[in-house]
Symmetry: C2
Subunit: 350 residues, 2 copies
């Protein structure tokens, strides 16, 4: 296969699947020539779509399954009963080495549960986390966790810091990424127990990352640090709050330009610059949340995205593979954790 | 005094105090003629400023004190040792009835600790909360808590829902405000224990408010509900994330308009409409966070605001007084809580 990357697609996940998934793969193929795809889903729906996408047709192998994971399925239910689902089969393809990564726009909780069960977590990682990158005033940063872990202890947060650091090094290509812990103030005494304890541990140098200290909500988009670490509850709320604020702003701006003839005229002149701005903050551009901490590459696309957004999610998986993220994070974890001593809980043999 | 409202000012709180505080009072006085002020702070700094603000001079009484609460003082320390501080004396003026409310741009934690100690919490309220209103795609909504309570149980969240409802009724003038609980999804099983339990209680109708259910981060600015209830950690992060995103957007827009001659020309035409938009989302317009749940009106201004922003914080306190917020919330709380039984912890008299 050489350098060719193979991506397993859950062709049935997402609001506009499978059309959006396959059209997204077509766009991704233009950006990453040589990529191969395994598409899991209903052949009767996939085949006519592929007929219209001849270029993709030559790069994809379709694996038929009629089962899907519904958007309201509980993770445990999807895990138990969905063994022939398009999502599960796509993840299985990563586990047995047929694919280098999986991309799905389906049920997030189910995807995480199945990916964790099938791919397993990396040695030294208790819980995987969901990460994304996003635009900042300085460029781009990474935030995790975005909702996989609603309640986190200090150990989880320290592990997230480590994973975020490895991600920023390999995929963003940063030499010494700075890592911040999201809190309600920068002073050491601020925050809840988990955040304070994680702060003490990260400051101690126990983990060899460049720890900036605590950061606040406005530091996220300021780009104060390259990696923002938080629990899944706070991260999920922060990400969606930022998305909602961007939407409020975009809509207000659009209506401001419709406000008068003068404003409309102004828009005509400024259109080029405004379109560049719109492209930079286009949420589709940041589509593709990475599941970090697994023995395999898994990327979650927004369910409501379009082909352009889905192509970006595929791009995230391809980048992670090409940049050797898994090898990098494995070696970071090995360097950090000395061989475990025998568990203390085991009674000594008599 | 009739309808005249008297506001106690911590003249020394804030980055640009006391000038910003007094200039803000001057602006507020124009908006709310008849308002009286008690200004607590260093007379040697206040007097020359007042000499330049003759209109305010006739409406303010200065109470000299040379003590201030520093920005890095711990709340407990400010409470114990700051009895002659400008902040403490301003709050005392509310407690003993000389003022109807207090406004400070000083140390938030100290202000909350002192206000709670001096003014006491309302019967039925365990912990006061910090609330603010903010622009949404539909108008304006209220969010609480914004940082007074880092860890909250279900009972706290239920009380916040009640206080937010009373606030939206009296100060925003809404007849049947809708209340939502911030979470990572709208399904009943989502979230941590406190949020889920509060959800069950609010859905049960135990508290007579119009409970919408769970809302997510993007619902905040969408205006899905009139009142967004959350713990202080999440609320603080969400508010600051929204502020940061707005700043990213504003700066990007500004640089887009500088991008080319055409864009500059476009700005000239669209300026009127853009200025209206800027005014609507101006953070100074939403300056003034309310401490809810206290037997008295206390408003916290951003420390870095200017006179225009500080005037808005004063306006919040004046509105709360004029709209009878305290009476309203007291009667709501009485209606809701039946007369308490004797505390069980007390041993019966023998």
């Amino acid at each position: 296969m050489g350098d060719a990357v193979t991506i397993a697609l859950d062709a049935m996940g997402g609001d506009r699947a499978p059309a959006m998934v396959l059209q997204g793969a077509e766009i991704a193929l233009q950006r990453y020539p040589g990529t191969r795809f395994l598409a899991f889903g209903a052949e009767s729906e996939i085949a006519p779509l592929l007929a219209k996408l001849p270029r993709l047709g030559g790069a994809v192998t379709v694996h038929h399954t009629s089962e899907t994971v519904s958007d309201d399925a509980k993770p445990s239910q999807a895990l138990r009963s969905g063994r022939q689902s398009s999502m599960r089969l796509a993840i299985d393809a990563v586990a047995d080495g047929r694919a280098d990564g999986v991309v799905s726009a389906g049920n997030t909780g189910a995807l995480m549960a199945i990916a964790k069960f099938v791919l397993k977590t990396l040695p030294g990682i208790d819980r995987p986390a969901i990460a994304t990158y996003f635009p900042t005033r300085r460029g781009e940063s990474v935030m995790l966790d975005l909702g996989a872990n609603i309640e986190c202890d200090a150990e989880n947060l320290v592990q997230f810091a480590l994973m975020g650091d490895a991600f920023a090094r390999t995929v963003l290509g940063l030499v010494e990424p700075t890592v911040g812990l999201l809190n309600v103030g920068s002073e050491e005494l601020k925050g809840n127990d988990a955040v304070r304890e994680a702060g003490v541990r990260l400051r101690s140098g126990e983990v060899p990352i460049r720890f900036h200290g605590f950061v606040e909500g406005d530091d996220i988009t300021a780009g104060t640090v390259d990696v923002v670490v938080t629990d899944g509850f706070t991260g999920n709320v922060a990400l969606k709050t930022a998305e909602g604020t961007a939407k409020l702003f975009t809509e207000s701006l659009r209506s401001a330009f419709r406000h008068s003839l003068m404003a409309r005229l102004g828009y005509v002149f400024a259109r080029g610059a405004l379109k560049k701005l719109a492209a930079r903050i286009d949420p589709r551009r940041y589509n593709g949340a990475m599941f970090l901490g697994l023995c395999g590459i898994a990327v979650k696309s927004h369910g409501s995205t379009d082909a352009f957004g889905f192509a970006n999610a595929i791009g995230v998986a391809v980048d992670m593979k090409r940049n050797g993220f898994l090898d990098q994070i494995r070696s970071e974890l090995q360097r950090l954790s000395p061989p475990s001593p025998q568990p203390l809980a085991q009674p000594a043999a008599l």
